[in-house]
Amino acid sequence: MAAQGVAAQSFRQAMAWLHTWFGLVLGFVLMAAFFFGALSVFDREIDRWAIPSTRFEPQPMPSYEQILRPAFERMQPTQQAIDAMRPRVDGPMPEHFDTVANWSAYTTHRDPVLALFAGFQVPGAKDPDEAIFALGTIDPRDGTALPDDRLKIGSGFFYPMHYSLTLDWKNLGVWIVGFSALVMLAALVSGVVMHRKFFRELFTFRPGKGGLRSVLDLHNLTGVVALPFHFFFAFTGLVIFSATYFFPVGHTQLHDLHDLHAATEASELGLPHKRAGVPAGLANVDAMVAEAQRRWAARDMAGDVGFLVLQHVGDANGYVSVYRAGTDRIALVGQGIHFKASTGVLIREDPVATPVGKVAEFLTGLHLQHFRHWLLRWLYVLGGLLGAVCIATGFVFFVEKRKRQHAKQGSQGARIVDALAVTMITGMVAATLGILVANRLLPDDLPARGDWERYAFWGTWALALLHAGLRSAPVARGLANPAWREQCGAIVVLALAAVGLNWITTGDHLLRTLGAGYWPVAGLDLALLATAAIAGATGLHLRRRAAATAAVEHPRREAAHA
C-alpha cells in the first residue's frame, strides 16, 4: 500500500519533470507552430492582403485549351533551379527544357489565382527519374502570368513557418517542429497525470485570485478545454510528414517492397510509369474534363476540378488525370479519372478508397482543411490561439513561480527565461506585424522584394529579443520586465500602421471592403484592429500593475536602505 503510494508519487514527479523541462525548451518552437498554424488557416486570405493585384473572387479551374496550354508552354525552370540541379547532372545543362515530364494545376474554393507546376526531364541527369521543376501563378480569367517573385506571405511564409520555421537546410526545421510535436503529445499526457483533480480543474478560472494562481488556471483551462484539438493536430501533423521525413521506411529500408508495389500498381492501373519514347499528340483536354465531371454527376457527386495533371506530355504513354476538388469533402482531392492523352479514351476511374485510405484522408484532410466550412475554419484559429496561450502561460508560470527565489539566490535563470518568453510572445506578434507593414511600405518594383519582407520579419524579431534582454534586469530582483508592456505598445502601433498603410496604398479601407463583402482583406484588417485592442488593453493593465507594485516596493526599499 505504502510502496504503491510512493511509486504513484514518483511517477507523477517524473511526469512533472518531463512536462516542465521539455515544455520549457521546446515550448518556444511549439509557440511558433501553434501561432503560425492558426494564421495558416487563412493563408490564402493573407496572400490577398499582401498582393493587392490578386484581390478578386476565387475562380474555377479554367479551360485547358484557352488558358492553361499557353501558360504551361511558357513555363521553364528558373536560373536558380537550374543552378541547384547542375551538380546532379553529367554534362552541360540545356538552354531550353523540351521534354515535359508533367504539367499540373491545383486550385481550391479559396484561390483567385491558379498555381501551375511543370516538371521536365533533364538530359544527363545522374538519376534519370529526377525532374527539374518550374512553378507559375496565373490569373485564371485571362491567363496573364503574375509575377512570381511576389511573396505570398500567408501560403509562402507563415505556412512554412508553421511546419519548418523556414529552416530548409537538411529539413532541419521539419525535424525540430516534428520533435516538438512529439513533446507536445508528451506534455499533454504528463500534464493530465500531474493533475489529481483533473475534472474539478477543468473549468476553474480565478482571475482575481492573485497572479500565480490565475496564470496556472489559464494554463490548465486552455490546455484542457482544447485538449482533443491539441492532441489531434500534434498527432496528425506528425502523421502527415511521417512517411516522407520522420520514418521514410518506403524510401530506405523497405525500398524494394515499395518498388515491387509501384510496378504491380502501374500494370494494374494501366497508367504507364515511364515514357514510351514515341511522340504522340494530345486530344482535347477540355472534353476529358467535361467527361470527368459528367461521371462525377452520374455518381451523384457533381463537383469542380481541383487538380489536373498531364503526365508524360507529348508521348504515346501520356495520360491526363482529373481530380475532383474536395470542397465538400474532407479529402483534399479525390475521385480521380484518367484518360489516354493522345485519344481522350477513358483508362480508369479510381475506385472508392480502402478503409485505411479513408482514415488517412480523414486525418490529413482534417488537419490541412481545404474544404469549405467557415465556422470550423474560425474554430481552428481559436484552437491554435488557445494552444499558443497555453504555452505562453506555461512560460509565465515558470518565471513567476521562481523569480523571487532566483532573486534571493542571485540566479539569472528566471530573467533569461522571461526575456525569451517576451521575445516569443509579444516579439513574435510584432515580427508578424513587421512583415505586413514592410509589405505595404516597400516599393512595388523593388528587386527581390520578398527577401526584404523576410528581413523585416526577422529584423523585428531580433529587435524584440534585444529589447527584451536589455530591459530584463528587474526580473533578477523579482520584479516584472517592462518589455512586456512596451512591446504591447509596439504591437498596437504596428497593427494600426498595417491597417492604415493598407488603406493608403490600395484604397481598400474597411468601409469599402466590408461594404463589398470582400472578407479576405476586411477579415485581416479587423483581426489587426482586434490585435491592437487586445495588446493595448494588456499593456495598460500591466502599466497599472507596475505602478501599484512600485508604490508598494518603493517605501520598502527605502526602509531597507535606511
Partner: protein, 103 residues
Amino acid sequence: MSNAAMLPFPAPRLRLAARIGAAVFGGYAFSWGFIAAGAALMFKAGMDFHDAEFLSSALGLLVFLTVFLWTFATRRLVLAWVVLAGGGALLAGVASLVQASIV
C-alpha cells in the same frame, strides 16, 4: 542543479543525459523498427503498400509517445536502453527478413 534534484531518482547529469538519450534516440530506433516491421508484415498479409505504411506509421507514432513517457517513468534505465535499442534492432531485422521473403 535544482532541475536534477526534482527528479524522483538519483540523477547526476550523466544519468539524466542517458535517460533523455534513451527516450529520444532509443525511442526513435524502437519506433522505426515497429513501423518497418508493421509495414512489411501488413504488406505480406495482403494490404496495399501505402495503406500498410500509413497504418504502421500512425501506430508507430503512438508507440514512440508511449515508450518516450515510459523511459522517464521507469527506474530501470539500463532496461530502457536494452528494450529500446535492442527491440528496435530486432524489429528492423524482422522487417528486412519479411521483405527478403517477398522480393
